[in-house]
Assembly symmetry: C2
Homo-oligomer: 406 residues x 2
Amino acid sequence: MRILLVGAGGVGTAITRIAARRPFFDHMVVADYDPARAEAAVAALGGDADRFTAAQVDASDEAAVTALLAEHRCDVLLNATDPRFVLPLFTAAHAAGTHYLDMAMSLSCPHPEHPYEKTGVKLGDAQFERADEWEKAGRLALVGMGVEPGLSDVFARYAADELFDEIEEVGIRDGADLTVDGYDFAPSFSIWTTIEECLNPPVVYEAGRGWYTTDPFSEPEVFDFPEGIGPVECVNVEHEEVLLVPRWVDAKRVTFKYGLGNEFIEVLKTLHRLGLDRTDPVTVAGESGPARVCPRDVVAACLPDPATLGDRMHGKTCAGTWVKGTKDGREREVYLYHVVDNQWSMGEYGSQAVVWQTAVNPVVALELVASGAWSGSGVLGPEALPPGPFLDLLTEYGSPWGMREQ
Amino acid sequence: MRILLVGAGGVGTAITRIAARRPFFDHMVVADYDPARAEAAVAALGGDADRFTAAQVDASDEAAVTALLAEHRCDVLLNATDPRFVLPLFTAAHAAGTHYLDMAMSLSCPHPEHPYEKTGVKLGDAQFERADEWEKAGRLALVGMGVEPGLSDVFARYAADELFDEIEEVGIRDGADLTVDGYDFAPSFSIWTTIEECLNPPVVYEAGRGWYTTDPFSEPEVFDFPEGIGPVECVNVEHEEVLLVPRWVDAKRVTFKYGLGNEFIEVLKTLHRLGLDRTDPVTVAGESGPARVCPRDVVAACLPDPATLGDRMHGKTCAGTWVKGTKDGREREVYLYHVVDNQWSMGEYGSQAVVWQTAVNPVVALELVASGAWSGSGVLGPEALPPGPFLDLLTEYGSPWGMREQ
C-alpha cells in the first residue's frame, strides 16, 4: 500500500510516528502547504524515515493533489488537514482513482430561516451525495475515521452487534482533565475547529423525527468519565457521529456531547458575542497599513499551538460511546471508551494526548484496508465495517479500549 | 478666546455641537488625523458653523500641532483624542504658549515587580513632573476635565468646601442602564480605552499609605444609582480621580469604582485570558498575505463604533462622587451625581449619552476660563479650582446635577 498523507500539522505528524512502527504499507508521502512542516515530520522519524517522502501541495488545488497521487502511484489519500479542505481532497482522490480517508466530514451550513430548529446542509452531505460515484468506481471513501468521529462510531457498531438487542440512545461523550502549565487558557485542540463545531447549531437524531438542531450548548449534563478523570459538564455540539451512526446502526436517538466545562463554554460564548469567531475579514490598521484579517484567525494567533504543548500538559483525555438499551429483555447501559494519558503518549511518541488519540485510528483503519480485513466501496462511515478487527488491532497498537457497565 | 480642538471622534463632535450654542469663544479649529471627520463635524453644525474651521493634523506630531496653534492664533488646546496622544499634545501646547485641557491623563506603566501591589509610573505622572514649566510660563494645563475625571473631581471639591468638615472616603461611582437594540454586546464607550482602564492594576489612595494598586476588578460592591438606574455591580478600576483628588482635597481614602456589571467584567477577563487585549502585534494570514495586527485593534474592529449607536441606545448614564465623613460632629454620606438620559441627548444634540456627558464638561470649563471665573497656572486638576461657578454653569447648560443624602 502506498499512502498520500495530506497535512503535517499536529495530527499528521503523529500519524507518521505511529505508522513508522507498522510494516503494513510500502510508502507514505507526507505533503503540506508548508514544505518545512512536511520535511520536519519526516526528519523527526530518524532511522525510520526510509518509507517516507516529504512533498509540498496546496490542499485546495484538486489538480495538484490528483497529480501528486499519480506521481507517487498512491492507493489511498489520508486527509489530515482542517475541514475546509475535505471537498477538494475527496474530489482529487476520486479523480485519481484512489481510496480516501478523513477524520472530519464536509462542513455544514445552517438552515437559513430556522438555524436552531432545522438542519440546513448537514455535515458530510456534500460527500454522501456523491456515494454513487465512489460505488461505481469500486473505491472506498472512509469518512470520519479519527477518534471522534471514528473510534466512537466503531464503538456504536460494536454495541449494536454484541451488547444490545435494542438501542434507545447512542450518546458520544468526550471529556478530559488536561491542564497546561504556564497558560491561563490553552485549548488542547485546534481552536479554529473547536469554535466551528461548538458554535454551529448542535444536531440531534431521533428515529421518526430525523435530524434536527438545537441552540448551542444545549442539554447540559454532568458525565462521569473513567480512569480518574471524573465528572465534567457536557453539552450538545455539532459532530459527525450524529450524522453517521443512524445510517448503519438502529438507535432511537443519537447525540454528541462535548465535555467543554463551564469555563470553556463561557469563553466560546464571549467570542461569539463579540464577533471574534467570524471568518469573514475585518479591516484594521496593520503595521504596514490597513490589513484585512479574519477575527477567528487572530484568536488562533493569540493562543499557543496546541500541538506544541505536550511537554507542559498533564492529564488524560477520554473519547467514548455511551449506549442505553435492552439485552435479553433487560435494561442495559454501557460506556465504551478509550483513554490516553498525555504522559504516556509524550513518552512513547512525543505527541500530546488529544492529537495522538486522533491520529492512531486512521492508521489502524489503513492497516485493516491493507490486510483486506476492512473492504468496501462507496462513502462509508466507520460503523459500516466490522468493529471486532478494529478494536483488536487498536489494542495491539498498545492503546487498549475499555468498557464500563453503568 | 480661540480654541484648537484636536480629535473629531464621538466626544470631539459633541463638543462642537455644545460649544456652537455658546457665545463665549471667537473661533474653534476642529482638527483630526482624518480630515473627513473634522469636516463632517463642522458641516453638521449647519448655520452655526461660522465660528468653526476644519483642519488636518497628526496628534503625535508635536511640531505640526504647535504650528497649527500659531497659525490660528489659538489661546488654548482642547485634547479630545485617546490617551495615547496626551503627551505630544500637552508638549505642543506648552511650546506654543497656550493653555491646555484634556479629559484623560498621560498613561500609567505598572510596577515591574509588584504590579498588583505597588504603583509604577502613575496616570498623569508625566504631566505633573512638568508642572513647574507651566507655572513659570503662566499658562494653565487643566488635566482630567471631562466627566470622570472632571465633573467627579469638581464634586469632590464641592463636598470638601460645602458639605463636610472631615472626609473619610471619596469614592467615584459610575453606572448606567444603557442597552443597545440589535447588539448582544455593544460597549457605550471606546473599547480600547475601557480595556486599558479596566485591565491595568486599579489604584487606591489612603492617607499615610499613599497610592497603591490591587488586582483587577477588586473590592466588588453593589451601588444603587439614582433616577431609576438602580443597583449595579461596581469594581475598582484605574482612574485619574484617585491620582487627582488627594492633591487638593483632604480625604482619608479615595477610590474609583466602575459599574461594569458582571457580564462586562467576564468579557474583559476573557479577552485578557486569551491575550486579545494585547497591543503588540501578532502575525496572521491577511487577505493580501501575512499581516501584523494588534489583537486589541481587531476586537475594536469587530464591535460597533459606540459614537454611532445613539439611535439604537436606551437608558441613562450616571457619573458621580460618593462622599463619607462628618459635618458638625455628625456622620454624613452623600452622592453628588450627574445623569444623562440618552433620549434627551439624542433629541437635543444628536449625541449619545456617554459621549455627550464627557463633552459638556470641558466646554463649561473653557467658558469659565474665558470669563476669568477660573484662572491659574501650572498643571491643575478640576478640584484645584472653585466648584460653585462650574456647577452653576453646568445647570445653565440645561444639564443639572443632583445630590442624594444616603
